[in-house]
C-alpha cells in the first residue's frame, strides 16, 4: 500500500504515533512543491490517501485540499482534521474532503476513519463526473462540455462552474462564492464573481446561459430549484434530467464522496 500523504509535515506527535501503530506508512509534506519532487523519483501512483491537519492555518489546509483535488491523479480519499472552532469552516466545502474529524480525537478514531475511507473508495472505479442537463463536467480531466460542445474555460471559470454545478439549485451569495471558489484570492471583491459569471455565461452560449441564474439581490444559482413545481422540460436544461440527485445531497454524483 502506498504511503498516506500528510500535511503539514510536522504532524502532532500523537497522530504520527497512531499512524505508525496502525501500520500506515506516511509521508509528510510542507506543500505541493514537495509532492512534485516526490513524484519524480519514479513513483507513479503516489499516495493511498491524504490526511490534512488544519492546525492554526485553516486557509492553508483548505488550499492544500483543493490542490489535491485538482491534481492529475487526485489524492483520494482525504481526511481533514480540524479544531473544534473550525467546524463552521466546513460549510459548503464538502467537495474538498471525504471525511473529517475534530481534534483532539482519540488516535483509534482517526485510524478507524481512515480505514473506513479506504474501504469505501476501494469499491469505486467510476470517473468523477458531474452531469446536469446538457452540462457535463469530468473532474478528472478538468474538461467541461455543454450539449456535446467542449467548453474552453480558464482555470477560474472551470472552478466556478465546478462549484456551482456541484451544488445545483442552491443559492450562493457572491461572498460565499468568493471564499469557497477563490479561497484566499479576494482581489477585486464580489465584482470578480459577477465578471466570471458573465464570462461563463458567454461561453455557455445564449442557449445555455440560463443554467446560471441570477437571484436578485442575493447572488447566483445553478439550474432550477429542485422542488420547482413545473413539469420538467427535457430541453434547455430546465431540470436536472441526467442527475439522479436527491435534493438533500446535491453534490453526490462525484464518486469519490
Amino acid at each position: 500500500m502506498d504511503p498516506l500523504l500528510c500535511f503539514p509535515a510536522d504532524l502532532p506527535a500523537e497522530i504520527t504515533l497512531a499512524l505508525q501503530n496502525a501500520g500506515l506508512g506516511h509521508h509528510g509534506v510542507t506543500g505541493p512543491e514537495e509532492m512534485a519532487a516526490a513524484g519524480s523519483d519514479g513513483r507513479t501512483v503516489g499516495y493511498s490517501g491524504a490526511l490534512v491537519v488544519a492546525g492554526d492555518d485553516m486557509n492553508a489546509a483548505v488550499a492544500f485540499c483543493r490542490h489535491l483535488r485538482l491534481r492529475e491523479v487526485p489524492v483520494s480519499p482525504l481526511l481533514l482534521a480540524i479544531g473544534p472552532d473550525q467546524v463552521g469552516e466546513l460549510l459548503l466545502r464538502d467537495d474538498l474532503y471525504d471525511d473529517f474529524c475534530v481534534l483532539p480525537a482519540r488516535p483509534e478514531e482517526l485510524v478507524a476513519r481512515l480505514q473506513h475511507l479506504f474501504w469505501r473508495t476501494g469499491q469505486s472505479l467510476r470517473p468523477d463526473i458531474i452531469e446536469y442537463g446538457p452540462l457535463l463536467l469530468n473532474l478528472e480531466t478538468y474538461q467541461a462540455a455543454v450539449a456535446g460542445r467542449v467548453l474552453d474555460l480558464t482555470y477560474m471559470e472551470y472552478e466556478l462552474l465546478r462549484f456551482l454545478a456541484g451544488h445545483p439549485a442552491k443559492v450562493f451569495t457572491r461572498e460565499t462564492l468568493l471564499s469557497r471558489v477563490w479561497g484566499y484570492e479576494y482581489y477585486g471583491g464580489a465584482r470578480t464573481v459577477d465578471v466570471h459569471i458573465r464570462r461563463l455565461r458567454a461561453k455557455l452560449g445564449e442557449e445555455h446561459a440560463h443554467l446560471i441564474q441570477t437571484v436578485r439581490s442575493v447572488g447566483y444559482r445553478f439550474g432550477q430549484v429542485a422542488w420547482h413545481p413545473g413539469v420538467a422540460q427535457r430541453n434547455g436544461g430546465q431540470a436536472p434530467v441526467a442527475a439522479p440527485t436527491a435534493p438533500a445531497a446535491p453534490a453526490a454524483q462525484t464518486s469519490g464522496a
Binding site: 490542490h67 474552453d152 461561453k203
Partner: protein, 452 residues
Amino acid sequence: MRACEAVAVQSQRDYVLRTVEERGIRFVQLWFTDVLGTPKGFNITSAELENALDEGMTFDGSAIDGFSRVQEADVLARPDPKTFQLLPWHQDDAQVARVFCDIANLDGTPFEGDPRHALRRTLERARAAGYTFFASPEVEFFYFADANPSRGPITLDSGSYFDLSVADLTSNLRRRSVLMLEEMGIPVEHTQHEDARSQHEIDLRYTDALTMADTVMTTRMVIKEMARQEGVFASFMPKPLGGVQGSGMHTHISLWEGERNAFVDENDRYGLSEVARRFIAGLLHHAREITAVTNQWVNSYKRLIGGYEAPVHVSWARNNRSALVRVPVVKMGKAESTRLEYRAPDSACNPYLAFAVILAAGLRGIAEDYPLPPEADDNLFSLTPKELAKKGIEPLPSSLHDAVNEMEGSELLADTLGDHVFEWFIRNKREEWDDYQVQVTQFELDRYLPLL
C-alpha cells in the same frame, strides 16, 4: 498567505497542463506587450509548456520596443496560468492556446520595461490604499479594404465604392468578432455602427483593470483576425479619415472599497462621494501629463480637435459630451453603477499604461485631497479662449510634442511608469515627432505651392 498562493498557483498550473493534454493542444502562444502597446509573442510546443510555467522562457528582448537595455538583453517570459485560453479561430488546424506573460529579469525580479508590471504595481498601490479598480472601455475602429498607405484607407460600407453586399460584410464581421469574443469569455455590453462610415464600436463589460488590459489586447487581435480572414483590414488608428470622427477608447472607471462602490454617496446632490470628487480632481489636475500615454501617436492629436465628440479641454461634467471626464447619470436605484468616463484615450493606446496612469492620477487626487473645480455646464466648444481661461479651463495638449513636454515634467508619470519606461517612452516619442516634423505635407503643398 504565501503557502496558500503557492498552492493556488500549483493548481492553476496543473489545470493548464491537463487541459493541454486533454484537448490535444499542439502550440501555446506566449503573449506580452511592448511599451507602445504592440502585441508580441512567440510560440512554444506544448511539450515546453511545463518548463515555461515553472521557470519561464528566456528570450532576447533587445529587438522589442522599450525592452532593450545596454547591458543585458535576455529576459524571461513567465506565463500567467490564469490567462490560459484556447484560440477558437485556430480550430481547423492544430489547436492553439495563448497565455499572457509577465516579463522578468533572469534573476526573477520583474522587468521594468514590462507594461503589465507597471499596471500591476499601480493596482498594488490602489490595493494598499484599500481600493480595487475596474475599467470598461468602448473600443472604436474602422474596417478598410486594406492597409495600403500610398492609396489611403478605403471604407467598406460607404455605399459609394462597394455595394450593399459589402456593407453587410462589415456588420457581419463585427457580429462574428463579438461571437468570437464571447466564446473566449469576453462579454460584450454593446455593439454598434459608429457615426463615420465603416466605423464600428464594441463596448466591453467591466472587469478589474489588469484583466481588462489583457482583454483589450485580445479584442484588438480578434477584430483584426476576423477582418483578415475576410480579406479586409481592421484599423485602430486614432484618426484615419479627415472630416469624420476618429476612433476613441472612452473608458468607464470605478473604484471599489471591498463590496462598496467608493464613488457613491447617495446623499450627495450628484450622487458622488468625496472619493469620486477627489479622483476626478486628480484626473483633471494631471490630465495634461498623462495625455502622452493615453494618446501616444502623432495621429492621436488629429482626433483631439473640436467638433468630433473628442475632448479638447480639461473639464468635467455630467451631461456634456465635450467634457474630458464625464459622470454618466445612473438610473434610479442603480447607484452601484456610478462611474466616471475618461474620454481622452484612443483605441491605439497601450491599455496597460493608459489604465495605470489614469488610476495613478485619480489616486493622487485622493491622497492629496485635490479640490474639484466646478462642473463645465456650457458647451465648451462655443467659448473663446479668453472665456475658457477665465473659467480656469485649460486645453489638452494639442500635439504629441506638447504632450511629451508635459509628460517630461511629471513626477507622477515617472513614478507610475518607472524610470525605464518613462525615459524610453519620451525618447521614442521625441523621435517620432522629429520624423513627423521633417515631412512637408500634402496640405502645405496644396495650399502654399501655388500661392507663395
